[in-house]
Amino acid sequence: MKKILASWQERIKTRFRKLKKQARTRWEAMPSFSTLRIALVALGAFILVALVYLAQASNAALIARDLRVKQLKIQEVERENAQLRYEIAALASPSAIEQRARKLGLGPAKKVVYAEMPWIQPPPNELMPAFLPDTNIDTVPQTFDAADNTFLEQLLSVLGLGNLSNFANAQSKE
């Protein structure tokens, strides 16, 4: 038994040594990377990434500049528009137009003649100015007559009482 165990132990050790040797052989067969080479590769990768970032950042900056220049241009144009709008309004003000009209010999109409055309029957509201509110037109103004004084008021005045009698009294005192 001891011999068997010993032989197995020996076999495992031999096998292990063989594997170790094989691993060393394979490792030595691989190309070797020196520290310098690794450092150079890393540096190269870093520079590449930096260049990409720089390109992106520059592009973004250029776009930002373009946008800003356009924003400033828009503001400039808006200011010019405001100036033009003001100048147009000044030229179009009623007093300015009236001055120019008078220089051309125009003036307010002295007489307006309304021509009746009974063969044309527009609806009543078309005769009203456009910007006036739509209203029902009372055609006949209210009138009043002596019937406004009620019978009672007349009676009281005869008797010297009521509102009317007060006036009559006032008149008689003066």
Binding site: F144, N149, N166
Partner: protein, 594 residues
């Protein structure tokens, strides 16, 4: 690797020829190496200190150097008439400054800048040569075209050390058109008078704060980042109820009337009686809104709302309405006029000191009899009479949307300053102070059938986000019964036709109205010479569309309202009828009957 090999790897071969032993050499190499490592460590620590510990401070310093916080000015809202005529708007001008110490050739710069800035070349040379100043202001109001030219010159490198900033300025294209309605903004862009003051918060908007990167001279087109911050919010736009053509008619005829009559000043108010909209509001003299810096500020106060006066006989229309509506008199009543009446111990006379015997109300209005007016007030009774005055809006502000409105003065029974004689004098518009707007609004109340409307001048407000607030007519209260208003209208229209001296006739149109010739109170009594001549009326009488009050102060040609104010009323009314296409009554009534 052994120490000797390491050293051999680092150093050239001939360095091995040395008096030092390899051990000594190695030892000294280690010391040198340690010094280098220590130095690198110190540098690293300092770098860490500046870049990590002091990061925020230094970052802020760098940011402050290249970033500017500028104010983005909000555009103040425009003011327009109902027909779209621009009354007030913002334009831009440039403030231009220079840094003389950085300018190599002031004369050359001045030559380039003078025509652009509209400033004399010699002035510019003097300022640009001033080496004692870091910054000099070249102009505060360079036109907007100058900004574009300066930008181009700076980009081309033809000018240097010049800063320019755009600032908004308020401008009024119409000059003095609707001056008292609009008001103006002062140097700090705050509204003063008129709607500029009343709606200042709405018009102003909100300035923004922008952080933008720029160079030392303010050029913001740098390729770093877009500006950040809160943008400006522009103000809202006001659309007024006034019509520019009607306003122009009122101002023109008022100016002509004041000048022809040698008067001191005058006002015209035109209202739409059914809605309370103010269609025109003219005061003469009217200041130029663009010249506020050189104009006396008192000129901008609007007499229509802030200068009360004793209305005189125009007020008799109100007295008549109170008597009829209270039922104390009837339309067909005949009253006796002996030429004077004593009320509260005071004798009241007619203006011509004559008596006319028994007269009806039409004759009383046509001849403007003070005695009859006093009798009507007496019959109405003080409590009822002054209640009606209050209902008509006298003695209180109307809440019109204009700055500076004052309520006027109405004495009331029991207030300690009222006497019984005031009942008689107030009846014909003396001893009572009202504003032209209150008087017009009272006439409008009669014209529209008895409703006191709140007068207003802003029709709608358009906000920057596009939403619109529309202001609606507002009935304050019912003052008269509709039938009473109709009766008053009938009497007033017939009285105008009866009055022989009245010139408020408009052929083809029925007008209802009343003249007024009021004395002007002075300390101790009334001015013996000067008057306020006025006419208040509305047309067409059967369906009033316009109420017009004409008030002329201290006319020299004639003191009478019928001679001075009535013709102006007629001219204005005629032009409004033509402008709006309002046909004569006969044609209009015939058309509606069909």
């Amino acid at each position: 690797m052994s120490n000797e090999r390491f050293v051999a790897f680092l150093l050239p071969q001939h360095f091995f020829v040395s008096a030092l032993t390899p051990t000594q050499f190695a030892r000294r190499s280690y010391v040198l190496f340690a010094i280098m490592v220590a130095s690198a460590l110190v540098i690293t620590v300092r770098l860490a200190y500046w870049q990590m510990v002091r990061h925020d401070d230094l970052n802020k310093l760098a940011t402050d150097l290249r970033e500017r916080i500028t104010t983005e000015y909000a555009k103040r809202g425009d003011i327009l008439t109902s027909d779209g005529v621009l009354l007030a708007t913002d334009i831009f001008s440039y403030e231009v400054a220079a840094h003389p110490k950085l300018i190599a050739n002031p004369k050359e710069q001045a030559q380039v800048l003078a025509p652009i800035l509209n400033v004399s070349e010699s002035d510019l040379v003097q300022k640009l040569s001033d080496q004692t100043q870091n910054t000099v202001m070249l102009t505060l109001n360079a036109p907007v075209a100058a900004g574009k030219q300066l930008t181009e010159l700076r980009n081309a490198g033809k000018i240097g050390a010049i800063e320019f900033v755009a600032k908004p300025n308020r401008r009024y294209p119409g000059g003095s058109l609707a001056a008292h309605i609009v008001g103006f903004t002062n140097a700090s862009r705050q509204g003063a008078y008129g709607v500029e003051q009343y709606f200042d918060e709405i018009l102003r908007g909100r300035d923004g704060q922008i952080r933008a990167e720029s160079d030392a001279l303010g050029d913001e087109s740098l390729p770093f980042d877009l500006p950040q911050g809160s943008p400006a919010v522009d103000g809202s736009t006001l659309v007024l109820t006034i019509n520019s053509a009607i306003q122009n008619i009122a101002e023109r005829e008022l100016a002509r009337g004041v000048q022809e009559n040698g008067a001191k000043s005058g006002q015209i108010v035109i209202m739409e009686p059914r809605t309370g909209k103010i269609l025109a509001l003219a005061s003469y003299p009217a200041p130029d809104l663009n010249a506020f810096a050189t104009t006396n500020l008192d000129a901008y106060a609007d007499p229509v709302v802030s200068l009360p006066y004793e209305p005189g006989s125009v007020f008799k229309a109100v007295t008549l309405a109170t008597g009829l509506d209270s039922g104390k008199i009837t339309p067909n009543i005949v009253l006796n006029d002996p030429g004077s009446v004593i009320i509260g111990g005071r004798t009241i006379y007619n203006s011509d000191r004559q008596g006319y015997g028994n007269v009806d109300l039409v004759t009383a209005m046509a001849k403007s009899l003070n005695v009859i007016a006093a009798k009507i007030a007496l019959a109405t009774g003080p409590k009822t009479f002054y209640q009606y005055l209050h209902d008509f809006g006298f003695g209180a502000v109307s809440n019109v949307d204009l700055a500076g409105e004052i309520p006027g003065t109405v004495k009331n029974p029991g207030d300690g300053i009222w006497y019984e004689s005031d009942l008689g004098t107030n009846a014909f518009g003396q001893g009572i102070a009202v504003t032209p707007l209150q008087m017009t609004n009272a006439l409008a109340t009669i014209a529209n059938g008895g409703n006191l409307m709140r007068p207003y001048i802003v029709d709608r407000i358009i906000h920057p986000d596009g939403s619109v607030d529309v202001r609606s007519p507002h009935v304050v209260r019912r003052v008269l019964k509709p039938e009473t208003a109709a009766k008053v209208t009938n009497i007033l229209s017939r009285s105008i036709l009866t009055e022989s001296t009245n010139k408020a006739n408009l052929p083809g149109y029925t007008i209802a109205g009343k003249t007024g010739t009021a004395q002007i109170p002075v300390p101790g009594g009334y001015d013996p010479k000067w008057t306020i001549a006025s006419f208040g009326g509305y047309f067409p009488a059967d369906n009033p569309q316009y109420v017009i009050l004409v008030k002329i102060d201290r006319p020299q040609k004639s003191p009478w309202g019928s001679q001075v104010a009535s013709p102006i009323f007629a001219t204005v009314a005629q032009q409004i009828a033509q402008l709006t296409g309002l046909p004569p009554d006969e044609i209009r009534q015939a058309a509606t009957k069909q």
